[in-house]
Subunit: 138 residues, 2 copies
DNA sequence: CATGCTATTGCAAGAAGTTGCAATAAGGAA
DNA sequence: TTCCTTATTGCAACTTCTTGCAATAGCATG
């Protein structure tokens, strides 16, 4: 049990608290592995914590993403999904069949550097979603 | 008047129609130039067309984006905004102060090519939003 | 210019996401 | 262990976005 307990010190160090709601949501993300919509997270987590509210799920997911424990990604048309934070990667989605491919961050590294030096910005978030047609559909 | 009329043949050729709603929305996007949220578009366009509905605005913006007359972009946390389709560009947004910078597509060209050859995908949409800290905030 | 096909709209109901505020409960300190 | 501070949650009301379906209106055709 309790991958989730590993996160406690990370939170405490910054003045935040570990709660049963956060644990349940982290457990869901961790166990499922892939992308989940807020509603999906809510349905799963509620099995462990029946009086969890959707409000809390939305707020918690945003909180986790902001503090690096989860990542958010834009799918299809402007909807956010979340996954547990692991290796840095991006997504490539087929507009036609919806097929999704992971893209290693290393492929974009040079471009990130070019972008930083030309703009003066320090890029923080690092999840991009690209849309296109996969080899079958094009 | 009627930049909007220029679009008529584009639509007809593909079997779509030019309507007063589409004209009003295109006019708003064209006149404003920058990013607008669906609600902002609705409020502006309604001045010209009082019985326009929000439903239609949402559907029209999606339609225009799908057919290349407008572009959609993800801002802040998962909300879509739209602008008239012009030169290809991307955005760089400061997480702290919200300041926004345009990024020329040419800067990302090499990366797009790398991505296409390594994935087999043909990239279609070409608007990305990057998040970071601007030179003042970092 | 009248007709017919069907793309497009408006309406109404619903789903998804947000916000303010008072009540609750982590977890540090006594 | 108990107390206290305040981060976090739940509730309720609200805004934003989506969907199905019947009514409307572009526009090609005769």
């Amino acid at each position: 049990m309790s991958v989730t307990l590993d996160y406690v010190p990370q939170l405490r160090a910054r003045g935040y608290r570990m709660t049963s709601q956060r644990m349940a949501i982290l457990r869901v993300l961790h166990h499922f592995g892939g992308h989940l919509s807020p509603t999906q997270v809510y349905e799963q987590a509620r099995k462990q914590l029946p009086n969890l509210t959707e409000t809390t799920v939305y707020r918690t997911l945003e909180f986790l993403a902001e503090h690096g424990l989860a990542r958010s990604a834009h799918m299809g048309n402007g909807h956010l999904v979340y996954e547990i934070a692991q290796h840095e990667h991006h997504h490539l989605i087929c507009r036609n069949c919806g097929n999704t491919v992971e893209v290693k961050h290393s492929l974009l590294k040079t471009m990130y550097q070019k972008l930083e030096s030309s703009s003066g910005y320090k890029l923080t978030d690092s999840h991009l979603t690209f849309f296109g047609l996969c080899s079958d559909c094009k």
